[in-house]
């Protein structure tokens, strides 16, 4: 769309709008499972600067919103699996 991204959740049948920031984070998670710190590091690489506290909080809130909407679910991280 012109001013937002709209996604369709096949499991719930709901449609949700996302701004570019949320869509970028969602695309990272779609690509492969990530921890919050992985997302922050990737965003820092993309933006070519360190994320300040406000932006980190925004990332955490966005991920929490994804969870609330049923768009993501917890999985065992590959590194954690390797350590077992």
């Amino acid at each position: 769309m012109d001013d937002a991204y709209i996604i369709y959740n096949k499991r719930s049948g709901h449609s949700q709008a996302m701004n570019e920031f949320a869509r970028e984070i969602f695309a990272m998670i779609e690509e492969q499972p990530r921890r919050l710190i992985d997302i922050e590091q990737e965003l820092e690489a993309l933006l070519e600067r360190t994320l300040d506290a406000d932006l980190k909080q925004k990332v955490a809130q966005t991920v929490a919103e994804f969870d609330k909407m049923g768009l993501i679910e917890p999985v065992a991280h590959p590194q954690e699996n390797n350590n077992q």
Partner: protein
């Protein structure tokens, strides 16, 4: 479904079929309903409003069934009261015989609203002119029935005042031109607009929604009810007697979510509905119009189409 079915032309035969338990087969756009009405007075009301509609000898598939009857001798002849059976586990409150036509319309509406899975349903009026389909989504009481009917009697082809039907696979709008349900102040407005009382039913007074009157769509719309159209414009009407006329464009995202909100079966149809509505939001002109009279509403719809669609 009814392409190979023979159309009935003999009014007496239609009346006899309507009176029998098996019922008469009424075709409206892509929907075929078997309707049985056991009360002579309600049959007369029904046949006046459905005068120009096609009745068929027998399609291969009947979509809906409606039996309008009195539960016993007392309710048939002494204190007539109308009950409705739809074979869909509906539980309609019985109405007095004098309001029987409301039971017929309510029963047909209910089945489409809760049973339709073949098309994406919008709670919307739909009209078409020169191949340009216009969807007019709105909640009850917003004036969409009056606006849709006003357009229909002003050169547009009437698809519906209540149920927009979209084929998710082809993206085409299908006509479902049921009689227009007019309420209260809109009744004299439409009678003045048309200038002829013939296509109207009698008034049904003291209903839960006040006075109700049904209007038969114009003949051209009924004769072409099997011809779909492509949606090109979506107009959300806001009727406000004190407002100045206005046209407000909607962003594509807002257009999408307003369509989702107006759809009765978006959730049931699922992903195909998401893609179909996304396509409409992407490709159609979407706006809100604010108007204070029927003439102004019709003028604004024409203006939106003339200025935005070649």
């Amino acid at each position: 479904m009814k392409a190979d079915s023979k159309r009935l032309t003999n009014r007496t035969t239609i009346q006899q079929q309507l009176a029998a338990r098996q019922g008469a087969l009424l075709g409206i756009g892509p929907v075929c309903s078997r309707i049985s009405i056991r009360f002579p007075r309600i049959r007369d009301d029904f046949l006046h409003i459905y005068k120009d509609y096609p009745f068929y000898e027998g399609p291969e598939i009947t979509d809906y069934y409606l039996d309008v009857f009195g539960k016993n001798f007392y309710r048939r002849y002494l204190r007539p009261q109308v009950s409705v059976e739809t074979l869909m586990n509906a539980d309609f409150a019985p109405l007095p015989e004098s309001m029987g036509m409301l039971s017929v319309e309510m029963g047909l509406n209910w089945q489409v609203a809760f049973g339709c899975r073949s098309h994406i349903l919008f709670h919307a009026g739909v009209v078409e002119k020169n191949g340009i389909g216009v969807i007019i989504p709105a909640i009850s009481g917003s004036g969409k029935s009056t606006l849709s009917a006003g357009l229909a009697y002003d050169g547009w082809r009437f698809f519906s005042d209540e149920f927009g039907m979209l084929d998710a696979a082809t993206g085409a709008l299908y006509p479902y031109p049921r009689p227009v349900s007019l309420k209260n102040e809109s009744i004299p407005v439409m009678k003045e607009w048309i200038g002829n009382d013939e296509p109207f039913s009698r008034n049904f007074e003291n209903t839960p929604k006040g006075t109700i009157c049904y209007l038969r769509p114009n003949r051209d719309s009924l004769d072409n009810m099997d011809r779909p159209a492509r949606p090109r414009v979506v107009i959300h009407p806001v009727f406000d007697p004190a407002a100045k006329p206005a046209i407000t464009p909607l962003s594509r995202t807002m257009a999408f979510f307003r369509l989702v909100r107006s759809s009765a079966n978006y959730g049931e149809i699922g992903e195909p509905a998401f893609h179909a509505l996304s396509k409409i939001a992407e490709e159609c002109v979407s706006c809100e119009i604010t108007y204070s009279s029927l003439a102004e509403g019709v003028r604004l719809v024409n203006q939106v189409v003339d200025e935005n669609v070649a």
